[in-house]
């Protein structure tokens, strides 16, 4: 397999599903169910990822080395050891930051054009994952 490009800018734009998963992992490593819950919580329940979408996205993120599977468990006594945990890779963190900045720039432009107010909530496109 060819080595993935390490320049974050060349990975952009990300698809909504990918961005949501990367955002969910920005706080730390999570397993699939936790990622799904985090995405649902951050979007106020508008986005509920199915297993197919979630693990398809995880598969592609692993292949492109934006995330990696964690060997460690936060607390084996508190969780099912069979669960697989994922975390952002170094490149993944750069990419999600770059994508967030890109969205911020877009929001700034939209504010400049008075399309949204200063208090408008940042809402991601592609709510129907």
């Amino acid at each position: 397999m060819a080595k993935p490009d390490t320049d974050p800018a060349r990975r952009l734009p990300l698809t909504p599903a990918v961005f949501h998963v990367l955002l969910a992992l920005a706080d730390g490593e999570r397993h699939g169910y936790a990622i799904m819950q985090e995405v649902a919580a951050s979007t106020e329940g508008r986005i509920k990822m199915g297993p197919g979408t979630l693990y398809g996205t995880i598969k592609r993120l692993l292949e492109s080395e934006l995330i990696e599977e964690s060997e460690e468990r936060p607390d084996p006594h508190l969780d099912d050891e069979r669960r697989r945990y994922y975390r952002l890779s170094g490149v993944g963190e750069q990419v999600v930051r770059a994508e967030a900045r890109r969205y911020a720039d877009i929001v700034a432009v939209a504010r400049g054009k008075k399309l949204i107010g200063k208090t408008a909530l940042f809402s991601l496109p592609g709510g129907g994952l």
Binding site: V18, G52, Y55
Partner: protein, 394 residues
């Protein structure tokens, strides 16, 4: 009771979902199937907590489209991966070694394969011997009673016509009969079953090659066979059969010419008899004796007498021609088809020509190896370049 109902619904939903996971490719199931089933169980629990059975129904309403779309996507991705594997396999050399080196390796591989195949085929092919008889052929002279025999009109189709006659049933059937080819070839090639003459002639035609000898009136009759003696015998038999055919044709033509002359003679004889009778009548009418002199009154008699004399003279000429023709038919003369060279058994097989075949195999090997190795090396180099340039899709 509530717990039992939940367990039942859970087990049912999970069972169905686990079966539906078969829609995903095996590799994807192996990597993520258990995790997906686990996530589904977690979602079932949440859904039940939220709205019990109704919650499960709502979950299924979300899960089914998700499963349908993502399974198709993973299937397509698996196909793409398979294509990538093929490309990797095809470009095995290019990804690991330099294109030039890949080219020479492939070249050597293809060349050796083609060359060895040509050598093996050359040595397993049955040997075939060729024998050639040569025959001089002349066009037929005009029939008696026609234009002067010295004048033979040019026939541009003469050689082609001769070839066709040599391959005709009339020429080849005597060959088949003489050499008993129905039985010989039946025994040799058809497990002892006697062949029909028509079938034998077809086989014989396939083994027969006719060619004009340049700037001569000679025709080369070449016969191919796996038996060198048989090839020579057949070639000579074809030449002899054609010669006999031409002699028989000539005799037929001469007989036909003689008949025409004889018919003309009979007609003239009848005319002479009638003229003689008419002359006798005129002699009586004009009372002409042996000492009578021609006068104006007896002019018709003398004209009739002159005509009769001319007719008799012409008839005598015709009779002389008939006698000449009869004599000519019985005199020995040069044949219109003269065998100049009898076929002899060949010393070495002509097919396969091992040297030529091996050289051709080497040439074909170089051509194919250059084409295939060049194309694959180029293709591999392009794929390698594209793969290096492409960003990993997310």
């Amino acid at each position: 009771m509530k717990m039992d109902a939940r367990d039942h619904e859970f087990r049912f939903s999970q069972g169905v979902y686990e079966r539906l996971l078969l829609a995903y490719p095996a590799r994807h199931r192996a990597a993520y199937g258990a995790a997906m089933a686990q996530l589904f169980r977690d979602q079932c629990r949440d859904a039940w907590t939220e709205a019990q059975a109704w919650g499960l129904l709502k979950l299924w309403r979300r899960i089914l489209p998700d499963l349908a779309s993502t399974s198709v996507r993973e299937r397509l991705a698996a196909l793409k991966e398979r294509k990538t594997m093929t490309e990797k396999l095809a470009s095995l050399f290019a990804f690991r070694i330099a294109p030039i080196s890949a080219f020479f390796r492939l070249f050597a591989l293809v060349f050796l394969a083609v060359f060895l195949a040509s050598v093996v085929i050359t040595f397993i092919l049955p040997e075939s011997y060729a024998s050639t008889a040569r025959i001089q052929v002349e066009p037929d002279a005009p029939v008696a009673g026609g234009p002067s025999p010295a004048y033979v009109p040019y026939d541009p189709y003469f050689v082609q016509t001769t070839f066709e006659i040599m391959q005709s049933q009339r020429v080849l059937e005597p060959v088949v009969d003489k050499l008993k080819l129905n039985a010989v070839w039946g025994k040799k090639y058809y497990a002892g079953q006697t062949l029909q003459t028509a079938d034998t002639i077809e086989i014989l035609k396939q083994r027969l090659q006719l060619a004009p000898v340049k700037n001569t009136t000679l025709i080369a009759i070449t016969v191919y066979s796996d038996n060198k003696s048989e090839a020579a015998q057949i070639a000579n038999a074809v030449a002899e059969s054609y010669q006999q055919y031409r002699e028989a044709s000539r005799a037929e033509l001469a007989a036909q010419g003689l008949k025409v002359l004889s018919d003309q003679s009979a007609v003239q004889e009848q005319q002479i008899r009638e003229s003689q009778a008419a002359l006798v009548d005129l002699q009586k009418k004009y009372q002409i004796s042996e000492n009578s002199k021609p006068t104006t009154d007896t002019q018709p008699y003398w004209e009739a007498k002159q005509n009769l004399e001319q007719l008799v003279a012409s008839h005598q000429l015709l009779l002389a021609k008939i006698e000449e023709q009869k004599l000519d038919m019985h005199l020995p003369k040069s044949s219109l088809a003269q065998i100049t060279d009898l076929a002899v058994p060949g010393r070495a097989p002509v097919r396969p020509n091992k040297t030529v075949d091996i050289i051709l195999g080497a040439i074909a090997g170089i051509f194919l190896a250059t084409t295939i190795a060049g194309a694959l090396a180029l293709w591999s180099a392009l794929i390698g370049t594209r793969a290096r340039k492409a960003a990993v899709p997310v």
